[in-house]
């Protein structure tokens, strides 16, 4: 049976202008969490809907959540002080299937944090490509460098790392022919392009999608995503069938 968790916040730090990391302690969440899954968090009594936040890392009994300020809910969450408790449902959703072969993990913007959990869970060290808008938005660099064989960082404005999008290093790595899988999370436009490039190189791609959610458990059908199931058009639930999908099943 699933239950609600009341988890103590042990740390809340600002990683960049709009990005915060909140760490909660909960033994059962930490035990059950799998890379790519999310937690559905109640953000104060003034709001009706919970906010889905992907899991960035698990360290012992601590679960780290990295999120971007988007509206009232995340504003509330960004102000939570250590010692307070959060009302959490989870871990929810279907996460990444981590392959055994040589793997690229790819994140763009607020799609970067969940890829850290993937990198840290892989049996052999992965290669990471992380895309940001500019140097002041780069987050989690050191953590990825510890967990990965190689880390390529790109910025749209060239203020740090490789100038341009994640596609440039992705193409270069795929052209080596050494990689057997790509796992990615980020803005839809970026994922669409990543899917095109991976298809071109016949490398299987798993993507984690974002959609506004209601129940978070698969009952209300508001977080729909157009997919192909057994050759026919279908609507999948991002919260339950996803958030991670095989790129080939998505109608891009």
């Amino acid at each position: 049976m699933l239950s609600k968790h009341y988890c103590e916040v042990v740390e809340n730090i600002q990683l960049s202008k709009d990005i915060f990391k909140v760490t909660v302690v909960c033994k059962s969440l930490a035990n059950d969490a799998a890379p790519g899954q999310f937690l559905h968090i109640k953000c104060g009594d003034e709001r009706l809907l919970r906010r889905p936040i992907s899991i960035c890392a698990v360290v012992g009994n601590a679960v780290e959540l990295v999120f971007e300020l988007k509206g009232e809910g995340t504003q509330w969450l960004s102000k939570i002080a250590p010692g307070n408790k959060l009302d959490i449902l989870g871990p929810l959703g279907s996460g990444f299937n981590i392959p055994k072969g040589k793997t690229i993990v790819l994140g763009g913007g607020i799609g970067v944090p969940p890829m850290l959990f993937v990198a840290e869970s892989a049996t052999s060290k992965v290669t990471a490509i992380l895309g940001f808008r500019s140097m002041d938005r780069v987050i989690l660099k050191e953590a990825f460098e510890l967990a990965c064989a190689q880390v390529y960082i790109t910025t749209d404005d060239g203020s740090f790392g490789i100038h341009g999008s994640v596609i440039k290093p992705l193409l270069a790595l795929l052209e080596t022919g050494e990689y057997e899988a790509v796992l990615a999370c980020g803005p839809h436009v970026m994922l669409t392009e990543v899917a095109r490039v991976c298809k071109l190189h016949a490398v299987p791609l798993q993507v984690s999608l974002e959609e506004r959610m209601g129940c978070g458990v698969g009952a209300c059908l508001v977080c729909a995503c157009a997919t192909i199931k057994d050759g026919n058009p279908d609507m999948s639930r991002v919260c339950f069938d996803g958030p991670v999908f095989c790129a080939n099943d998505i109608v891009w």
Partner: protein, 303 residues
């Protein structure tokens, strides 16, 4: 001894709490949180004759103490419900109510026949979905529309039929009366209120469908008023719903005239809400020396 059971249009409910259609799927997801046999009843996701993929996303937008949805009746169709979902629901000791929507009066009748043959406990006729072009609300906003669908379903259904009314009408009493006069065994209300939100940055509506249905605590007072007006106009029983989040809210709806109370959107906030609400109703009754739900229904003391 407090007795929470309700005899509703000849169907026995162990308690007055029913999960509202569209918020609870076919029970599978929330059945992971507690034993569904604890519920008075489950009203399943709206069914159509053929499968429907529903509307494009975004399908949800948050509002002050509420939310808009425009799912657009995504469902596997009535046949797959009967073969794949109904057997699962039958594992639980709870009333199963099938909610149906048709594009035509004949579609409603066909579905009623199939579901009645499959032995669902009740049929809820949805004439109030704000999110589909054909069917849905077009039938529910006129007395003629409600009457034609109700008669067609009653003709073919052997199980009690409840008509779910739209709040998007001028005179709810007149619509409730039309359902009763056409043979409905019960009515349920309210469905969602047609509503809209616009993103001031992009100047675009927050829902792909532009408009959608408002639910959640924000609509609760509107629901209480309409339940009171409808219940006062008919002698058939009423299932009240709309924004209920506590046992006290449920009692309020009963005082307004509801014999059963639907809970929906609140489950997104708290999956255990139906269980807490049932418990709170019991506490209110024992605290007020009430033995039976009947002692509450319609017992508002008007000024």
């Amino acid at each position: 001894m407090v007795d929470l059971s309700v005899n509703f249009a000849g169907v026995k409910f162990k308690n007055p709490i029913v999960t509202a259609s569209g918020t609870y799927g076919f029970g599978r997801e929330y059945g992971k949180f507690f034993d569904l046999s604890e519920l008075g009843g489950i009203c399943v996701k709206g069914l159509t004759l053929s499968p429907r993929l529903g509307n494009k996303p975004p399908r949800i937008a948050e509002t002050p103490m509420g939310m808009l949805n425009s799912v657009g009746l995504q469902n596997p169709g009535v046949d797959l419900f009967i073969s794949d979902e109904l057997p699962f629901l039958r594992n639980f000791d709870t009333v199963v109510i099938a909610n149906i929507s048709g594009n035509t009066v004949e579609e409603y009748a066909q579905m009623a026949q199939k579901l009645s043959d499959a032995n669902v406990d009740m049929i809820e006729v949805n004439v109030s979905c704000p999110n589909v072009k054909a069917g849905g609300m077009q039938f529910g906003t006129t007395t003629e529309g409600v009457a034609s669908v109700t008669k067609a379903v009653k003709d073919r259904s052997r199980v009690p039929t409840m008509v779910k009314l739209s709040p998007n009408v001028t005179d709810i009493a007149e619509i409730a009366k039309a359902a009763e006069d056409s043979g409905a065994d019960a009515i349920s209300l309210i469905n969602t209120l047609l509503a809209m939100r616009i993103d001031t940055k992009s100047k675009k509506p927050m829902l792909f469908n532009n408009v959608g249905g408002l639910s959640g605590p924000a609509i609760f007072p509107v629901a209480v008023r309409m339940i009171w007006q409808a219940a006062s106009a008919v002698s058939i029983p009423v299932l009240g719903m709309g924004g209920v989040k506590s046992g006290d809210n449920a009692i309020e709806m009963m005082l307004a005239g509801a014999s059963l109370v639907g809970v929906g959107t609140v489950c997104f906030d708290d999956p255990f809400a139906p269980i807490s609400i049932i418990k709170q109703i019991g506490q209110y009754m024992s605290g007020n020396d009430l033995n039976h739900i009947d002692e509450l229904v319609g017992k508002v003391v008007l000024n």
